[in-house]
């Protein structure tokens, strides 16, 4: 893979966009803050809000059904003459479990989809990566067409280029 460091976010973004347009290979950008705007050639947003909604529904519905089962089937109790299925009193715990389900799903989904928790990542072999979280703008390309990638990089004048074995 080819790893290039740029002095500015614009330089990195333009090089990444051109590589994606030219099908030079798989391109990933690295920087120390959230990108200014969506990258050219990167389709769609994150699926994780939907995953969190799913986690919330599982937590909430599961919590409600657990309470309903406990108070109607497993351990019915007459509390102040209320019906066994006194659903309004299930609402607080249902809400809390829905929030818990959503937050846990978000964290777990992030760890999975964002490629975290990997014990080895070849890109770390590049010295350029040392500055990615300190203010450098790093572009990594796994070239399908190495000549194309080098041509684009030459046009955008990165401050450093490295080649790393995968």
């Amino acid at each position: 893979m080819i790893v290039a460091a740029f002095a500015t976010e614009e330089g990195m973004r333009e090089a990444a966009a051109e590589m994606r347009r030219g099908d030079c290979g798989f391109v990933e950008t690295y920087m120390a803050m959230e990108p200014w705007e969506a990258e050219v050639g990167v389709e769609g947003g994150s699926v994780l809000p939907t995953v969190m909604l799913g986690g919330g529904i599982v937590g909430g519905v599961g919590g409600f059904l657990m309470q309903a089962y406990a108070t109607t089937v497993s351990y019915p109790q007459n509390i102040g003459g209320r019906p066994d299925l006194s659903w309004p009193s299930y609402v607080p715990a249902t809400f809390e479990l829905a929030v818990l389900g959503a937050v846990v799903a978000g964290m777990a989904g992030f760890l999975l989809l964002a490629g975290m928790l990997r014990l080895y990542e070849p890109v770390d072999e590049a010295d350029c990566m040392r500055g990615a979280m300190l203010g450098s703008y790093v572009l990594v390309v796994r070239p399908a067409d190495s000549a194309c990638a080098r041509r684009v990089l030459a046009r955008h004048a990165p401050i450093r280029i490295e080649e790393v074995a995968e």
Partner: protein, 449 residues
């Protein structure tokens, strides 16, 4: 008059990163850990030790070592729980609610405020367990399949409380840690000492700042913030319902849930001010926590004090507008009886003193704001004393009236949790980045002033 800037002039993404990393990593600094930190840590450990002894004695001797008895069956245990959980709310309000509102001043405060939330929530979570009498059976509150065939009583606000605290503590930890990931990665790449590189490297979980990571990160953070804001309101509403669900005099009121949310906001903003004012000087954060932050926090503080004043007023109004003589008798005794100093202390510290914050000169005078904040923390503790103890001491039947005096073991437990709070907070301040660097960098790129 134009508002002061949220960050000092001349600050850049690079300077913010360098300054905050220097506070945490302290490369080349002598001593490596500042003396003030060691002094504060020693005091905190001393208090924590007192709490450990108190808990050990409680486990050995049982609840009889506390001053609770009939009719005052809830004492400092529940009082301290409600006090701590309210203190915890400030960080969530600042971090989640003001994130959703898109205000710039929260960026420099959210990390410290969230850390305060975490530490206070941990202290709060201890009390309901200790108060159980046989705390080693606390797991019976979990709805788990068991051979006894028993379930928790899901119609009780006390069980709702269990779910609320469980969710709040876990969600606060995850929200805090998730927000830390980019900054831990920055520390990992900046650290010079091998031990620090490993420590922050493991904690960063492999965050590298890739486009894919940022895309997912921002989406998850926004949804978490959107969930944390109603969560904090639900937690304090449920704490209010712990009381409102009972028929005790002074408790059975529909205004308790919002009343407790107002009180939580007041004590939450108070603890943020009390912690941040000395820390900005000790850690050299004046460029990031500016006069604008102090001014805004002072205004929020004043607003929440006015909300609490409204709740106190409605409490008095509904008591005398209603027709229950026991409620009226209890209220008169609360105001003029044995515990009257507690009531008037509450009014002075929570309502009267914060009115000084109407004056900008007062809001801009850090020692005065700090003292008012400290006064509110004491005032909110007194408020819980008058809600819990006065109501239980003056029940519907005068023949059952009693009084309550906390024992040394209850006081030592309170000071022990203050020690736990300070110990955990000091460890976070020493080991974690105290300002959200990635968010500050993004804010600076957007051009703020």
């Amino acid at each position: 008059m134009s508002a002061p800037a949220v960050i000092a002039a001349g600050e850049t993404a690079q300077s913010v990163t360098e300054r905050i990393c220097a506070v945490t990593l302290r490369e080349g600094a002598r001593p490596w850990t500042p003396l003030w930190w060691w002094v504060a840590f020693a005091v905190s450990l001393g208090l924590l030790g007192m709490g450990v002894i108190s808990v050990a004695w409680l486990f050995y001797a049982g609840l009889g070592i506390w001053g609770i008895d009939w009719p005052v069956v809830w004492g400092l245990d529940i009082l301290n729980y409600v006090w701590w959980i309210a203190i915890a709310s400030g960080g969530t309000f600042i971090s989640a609610l003001f994130f959703l509102l898109g205000v710039e001043w929260r960026t420099a405060l959210n990390r410290l405020a969230e850390s305060l939330t975490l530490c206070a929530a941990l202290c709060a979570a201890i009390f309901p367990i200790l108060h159980l009498g046989r705390p080693w059976f606390f797991y019976w509150l979990f709805p788990y399949p068991n051979t006894m065939g028993l379930w928790a009583q899901f119609r009780s606000p006390l069980v709702w409380d269990f779910f609320a605290i469980l969710t709040y503590v876990l969600a606060s930890i995850l929200f805090w840690y998730f927000g830390l990931l980019p900054d831990l990665a920055t520390l990992r790449d900046r650290a010079g000492r091998p031990g620090q590189r490993v420590f922050y490297g493991v904690l960063a979980l492999g965050f590298r700042g890739s486009g894919r990571q940022w895309r997912h990160y921002r989406a998850v953070y926004a949804v978490m913030a959107a969930l944390m804001a109603p969560l904090v309101v639900s937690v304090h509403s449920i704490v209010g319902m712990d009381f409102a669900g009972s028929a005790a005099t002074g408790w059975h009121s529909t205004q308790f849930p919002p009343f407790f949310v107002f009180g939580a906001a007041l004590s939450g903003f108070a603890v943020v001010l009390v912690a941040i004012l000395p820390l900005r000087a000790l850690l050299g954060l004046q460029a990031y926590v500016t006069a604008r932050h102090i001014d805004v926090l002072g205004r929020l503080f004043l607003t929440s004090s006015l909300c609490v004043a409204y709740a106190y007023l409605m409490d008095a109004f509904s008591t005398f507008y209603g027709s229950d003589p026991a409620e009226r008798t209890m209220f008169v005794l609360r105001v003029f009886g044995l515990y009257a100093p507690v009531y008037w202390g509450t009014i002075v510290l929570n309502i009267v003193l914060p009115q000084l914050l109407w004056w900008r000169a007062v809001r801009m005078t850090a020692p005065l704001v700090w003292l008012i904040g400290l006064g509110v923390l004491v005032g909110m503790w007194l408020e819980r004393f008058q809600i819990i103890v006065t109501s239980l001491a003056r029940t519907q039947m005068p023949s059952s009236w009693g009084q309550y005096t906390p024992t040394i073991w209850e006081w030592s437990l309170l000071f022990g949790t203050i020690g736990l709070f300070l110990t955990t907070f000091l460890l976070i301040v020493r080991l974690m980045p105290v300002v959200a660097m990635a968010e500050m960098r993004a804010m600076l790129r957007g051009g703020v002033g």
